[in-house]
Symmetry: D3
Subunit: 238 residues, 6 copies
């Protein structure tokens, strides 16, 4: 039995709270169990230099953890004077995942920046971030449509993400921190509503993993992401 | 009439929510109207190098704003590679204010770090931070007492803070962002439960201010801080 | 009796030496006793990006201490790779104080940068800096008038600053380093020739301070700043 | 037909030149076609602080590209003052891949640092780096054994890596730069001699990819890595 | 006898390999014995801001050492976040030396950046860099002529450099690392084909040196640089 | 005739003012005409890590220019976040020059840091710095002797420095800024009281220079440094 009393193929309780803060064009608190991430979408009517004049937009992401979002206090990156390699990896992953479902020509020359700030961490912050960021991004784009700045949505389909892993010899869905610390293999999967992959990152933390273990993990991820996309749709329809 | 429909000497609605997150030894969400700051207290059983072996503790603070806590997105300080002068001023103020009410000998060789992270900003983030930080600090210290690490509290008395300012010619208590942007004089006051000052920072943003305007502002601050300390006591007694 | 044999309400010997160096548009060595600060004013016919095209000027300040201006050598900030929080606080204070007495529209689209570099420190470097900076700024502006670039002075009135503090239970004017290290309360006051406040920063270093102590300190500051403005006028008239 | 006239499942010409430079404990020039990376292994008889006294060793990696290893000159990271997110991702990947095949207890309290510096880039620099780094690491460890500092090798098995990708709709092995720029899906696979995975990183650059495309890519990767490990063995046996 | 069995006035074996890598407009591996430096020349059709619109070109250089080019591993400057003072001195020297032989008006508004990256170090990396950089620069400029972008070469004459030094009391030409570590005086000389000096940097590492020692060193340098320029000519004519 | 009405072989008016500031163990204002540099020597009873326990001392130097020491304001290096290559070159040169005349064993395990801060610049700041720094260093060491911490002086002989250069075709001694900006060749020479060289740095800014020009420049430098050392002796004997 898992520490959280879940079945191996069971997600944690997932909630997506829209309009969590008041200033951003999209603002979503995403919770995967005790993992809580605030995702805000900020629209700017300009693009980075490399895109100027090309008639295309840009979607990018930044990620951070509050210093005491974790069990022991982490050094504040702003005080340290740089973002860690891990932070940069995660924010690059979030940005790629969102860009994969947006038609940049249709977005027009504007940039949407997604900030994912971890309020409380219990494993899976990057996958929760992607899942919440998609909702914040959608809200920001719907605001552009409502304001008459876009005729239709440049979003092609929904995207969500989940972690899976092998603990002992059991493949598990949506690892919390205790499981993540003990796992042999850790995999983050980003998938579209159509069931195709945008990103798969599997890492052997302990034992190297076989092709069949990988397939079991992907089965779990497909199930979990399907459920997450249902939740995204529900909260966006509310 | 003020934009928020308040009387000149009226605080915004203030709430202090303890145990807002689960990992920190103290965790308080403080709200002054739409200003929301998460204050966490982290205890470490070590002191900075300059205090090693002196039998004294240390209390320090760090401050940050989420990039989209404000009306337009601010650059993330971790990405910029340094904290702004404003950020450093504020975190130094919070640290001094808290140290002023703690007996460092009685705290013993340990450090408590208060992180104040602004989730949503609408003026007064530094005074809200001090007010919330005191509650988080108290919770952390009570945890040390409960764990048998301290026999009694090294906290001498409560501390809270509020902003006051002259808008047009009217002295006002607890400025929100609209008022703060328009004020002639802006003053932040930090005070103890005994009604003495720990810090007064008054700045003429427009017209220089007279001694009598200053006195009117201090009268307002005394009233407001008295009310804030009642709220701190109430929430700590709950 | 004070270590320097002064009365409680007595300034140190103050001198303001104009044209101390030859390149800057204004160059003043200000001495408050053993505290010596070189204040230079540099005029540039351009403004920072946020003011471009608005028809307004800008006045800003930078502050530094020579590594051995103090009793023990401080790390050089250029070698450390960043300015300390204290340095940033002080240079922001100097800049605000000067901007408060200059009409930016009347200055026109140009920037004046005041550099305050501490040659020798014995307490009160920030207040000496403001007092000397005003003279350097005036010289630079008079140079613009003499060169026909300005028709009349955009300076509205003089500004000067002094520190006051409570040592033991005695309020004292213009603290030197020994007094500053021992004081219960430390206050920096910036005031105009008209006797109004631009900035008041009072900090309890030891005991919190009462309203009546504060009033006694402000009385001292008013007296001292009045004398400093007389000295500024005298040296500018010479 | 591929631009390089290769079959879809054909590696580029791979060479591994040992003792390429004279100072390092292991020094290998690895070439995957026109991609050339110098991999050096440096042994130090100390470990990072977090491992001190634990009786374990450490293997870590750093990665860099010479500014003109690429078609247009890249900014030198040392001059820019920081390593890019991409650089950090790659060096973390190399380090994890090598650590996965080394028994840290058996290595003892010493650190081996692998530097992978790209002399000339034509796609696949990270996978070439891992493949060459393993040989350099092996040489360094064999040197420790020869010097009597280790009784037997702490290396559990060989590791190598290759990139695979879908160009158009065709899965290809070992992409060069032209193919990499045009691919829909890009996947880097790290595998052991036993045929198990250490790391899989698949990214949709264009179209999202299906489970069956993924399986085709893994088949190619398994074939290619098998061949690379044969080459590693051959050159180490020489 | 010298450790390398050379006569006091004998250069190490010098080779200059053109087209060492494939992307750069000039790419030369220069070897002075065991010292190996890759010099690449990159042409950009733009100039730095201070030259914009002046009708002149610019030649600049950057220098780096691979972390394990030396006997013990050096910290990677990109990871350290800054270039050392030594690195900056060397790259400024290389840039000045090359600019001294190029007519910037005749080059036109374009910049050529020479990157000198030390693959293996055994003393004399800066003088080898200058010697190799000149060949890479010439190749790049000949490419501009071949492409019809320049009518004739803006290079006025060849430039090369060598180190000389006093070891014990003997003046020696072209010091290797062992000699460099033991020398009393170390001098780097940069000279043109016409036998005039562009740069002389002599430093007493042990005993101060006399005018006659200096003259003996310059005699050696003149001889050595004459030979280096013959080699440059030969390889460029090949 | 030179702009300053000097003969070609004539130094500017040189003054060395000891005890210029009150805190440092040595404090000298050195003036070469309008060039004014404050040189302070700070003694610390510890050495850098690489010398710990070796029974040797260390002498090092740092250099800076006040932002408006020059004709147009330079960016403050502390604000820029790093020291320029030029600054680092100069401070390395000052440090080497001083170390060359001190017996580090005789100094014992302590460090003396010389800070050279340019108050006003008119050419030759690095040579003025070395000349003044030697006097400050001597004062600091004499203080150690007076305090009984050293039995005798570890200084072997005096050191001073001067710039020389070819303007048009005329070799000149001690260039001021106008001459320095116009010169064909610029040379900085550091020499001991015994007339031997510690450092020679000659650079062709315009035309390359011949051996005979070099000899003429060294003749001038020998004359000038001889005079500087007389001045150092005189002021130290006062």
């Amino acid at each position: 039995m898992r520490p959280s009393q879940r079945e191996p193929n069971e997600l944690r309780t997932v909630t997506l709270t829209r309009n969590y803060t008041c200033h951003a064009e999209g603002s979503v608190l995403v919770e995967f169990g005790n993992t809580k991430v605030l995702c805000t979408a900020s629209v700017e009517e300009k693009v980075p230099p490399f895109l100027k004049g090309k008639g295309e937009g840009w979607v990018t992401a930044e990620y951070g953890m509050l210093p005491r979002s974790t069990g022991s206090r982490m050094k504040r990156e702003a005080a340290a004077g740089k973002q860690s390699g891990r932070t940069q990896e995660i924010q690059r992953l979030i940005g790629r995942s969102l860009r994969a479902v947006v038609d940049m020509k249709a977005l027009g020359e504007r940039q949407i920046t997604i900030d994912c700030d971890v309020i409380q961490a219990d494993g899976g912050t990057r996958t929760a971030s992607i899942t919440g960021a998609f909702v914040a991004l959608t809200d920001a784009i719907n605001g552009l449509i409502a304001a008459g700045k876009l005729a239709s949505s440049p979003i092609r389909e929904a995207v969500a993400a989940v972690s899976v892993g092998v603990v002992g010899t059991t493949p598990l869905l949506d690892l919390d921190y205790i499981e993540d610390s003990a796992c042999e293999t850790d995999m983050n999967v980003v998938m579209t509503a159509a069931g195709k992959f945008i990103e798969i990152q599997g890492t052997a933390e302990g034992e190297a993993f076989s092709r069949s273990e990988m397939n079991a993990l992907l089965d779990l991820a497909e199930k979990g992401i399907g459920e997450l996309i249902v939740k995204q749709n529900a909260v966006l329809a509310a």
